[in-house]
């Protein structure tokens, strides 16, 4: 571990984030960890605690993210689901950082329940990961957002038909960065997995394929009325 930290310092790479450390703790101690210890880990992250509570008590959204709330949620939600929720938090932060750094776009997380589903076709990037963790990520960009992402790189928010391949390339690279970062976190948490090269196409959200038995978490991000939906699907039985 010390050698790994030294290498990260040598190349000025950011240390692994706290959420990844939580995943590691949950997984490494899966057989011996007490409910109280799990609750403490979950309660240390307010957003994570709220998500776990919402899954445990879908009809009662009143969560104050206290240790008691965490305990109540942990009592009902399995350890693997908590791991997936923690991965969701990592994904959430990575999406925001990637848009900001690569395209100068500030995304704000929004409540998926408040964001209307659309039947329109949108540019969608899809990446699967396989190994000790198995799942799939879909990132859906509404047209105004994909054009803005393109504009953030090429300086023009109105791509022509001839430039549409560059819009797809830009969306594909953002998806690649976000999923690559998640995969790196998974590997460092002991969940070695490999990624399939991202596929980008226009599709309706309803046509996204959810592999059987996968836990499905949806994250929504907004910027000036433009929307990005991120669907994280992970098989909770294959850690």
């Amino acid at each position: 571990m010390q050698q790994q930290d030294t290498l990260r310092e040598k190349y000025k790479l950011a240390p692994r984030n706290a959420a990844m450390e939580r995943v590691k703790k949950l997984l490494q101690n899966a057989r011996n960890i007490s409910l109280e210890q799990i609750s403490t880990i979950i309660a240390s992250d307010e957003e994570l605690c709220r998500r776990a509570y919402a899954i445990a008590f879908p009809s009662n959204p009143n969560c104050n993210a206290t240790q008691d709330d965490a305990s109540a949620a942990v009592d009902r939600v399995g350890l693997n689901i908590l791991v997936i929720l923690t991965l969701g938090n990592i994904l959430n932060n990575t999406v925001i950082k990637t848009f900001e750094t690569m395209a100068g776009i500030s995304l704000k997380p929004a409540n998926p329940l408040n964001c209307l589903k659309s039947e329109d076709e949108y540019l969608t990037g899809c990446v699967s990961f396989h190994g000790k963790a198995n799942g799939r990520i879909y990132m859906v960009f509404d047209d105004a957002l994909s054009n803005e992402v393109y504009g953030g790189v090429y300086g023009n928010n109105n791509p022509t038909d001839e430039e549409q391949h560059l819009v797809r390339d830009t969306v594909g690279e953002l998806v690649n960065i976000i999923t690559g970062s998640l995969q790196s976190n998974l590997c460092d948490a002991g969940l070695d997995c490999r990624l399939v090269v991202p596929a980008v196409s226009r599709m309706e959200m309803e046509k996204m394929e959810k592999p059987p038995g996968h836990q499905h978490e949806v994250f929504v991000f907004l910027t000036n009325g433009k929307t990005c939906w991120v669907h994280l699907m992970v098989n909770p039985n294959k850690f």
């Binding site: 790479l13 750094t101 830009t170 690649n176 960065i177």
Partner: protein
């Protein structure tokens, strides 16, 4: 001196950002969109520095790096990894192949410029 810098990445977006970063300097930017194309350009152009992605369709960046190091003619070329893959194992593998720098995407052009300037004496164009 006009340096040759090769950027090997399957994303045009990244190649454009890299090209723009070094636009103000007296260097020539070469591009490759795949691992095999990178090896072709390296063999033909003998670049002074390679900026290398890992996830590419035909060969991974680590396979390209290994091939560069195994060839006596190219073994000494400085390589900076510019990739979304930053798992400890991957960084260790690149380190064992003597990389000069490792930048995790998402990245800021200034990070790249700083690392390249520590290797090449870039001058304004």
């Amino acid at each position: 001196m006009k340096y040759k810098i090769l950027t090997a990445d399957d994303s045009k977006m990244v190649r454009v950002i890299v090209g723009r970063t070094f636009g103000p300097f007296n260097c020539e930017i070469l591009e490759a969109g795949s691992g095999s194309e990178a090896l072709e350009v390296i063999s033909r152009e003998s670049p002074d520095l390679v900026i290398l992605d890992i996830t590419m369709p035909d060969m991974t960046g680590l396979e390209v790096l290994k091939t560069i190091r195994e060839n006596q003619v190219t073994a000494g070329i400085p390589v900076i990894m510019l990739t979304a893959e930053s798992a400890n194992k991957t960084v260790a593998e690149a380190d064992s192949l003597n990389v000069s720098g490792y930048i995790a995407k998402p990245f800021k052009p200034e990070q790249l410029l700083e690392q390249v300037k520590s290797i090449l004496n870039l001058e304004p164009a």
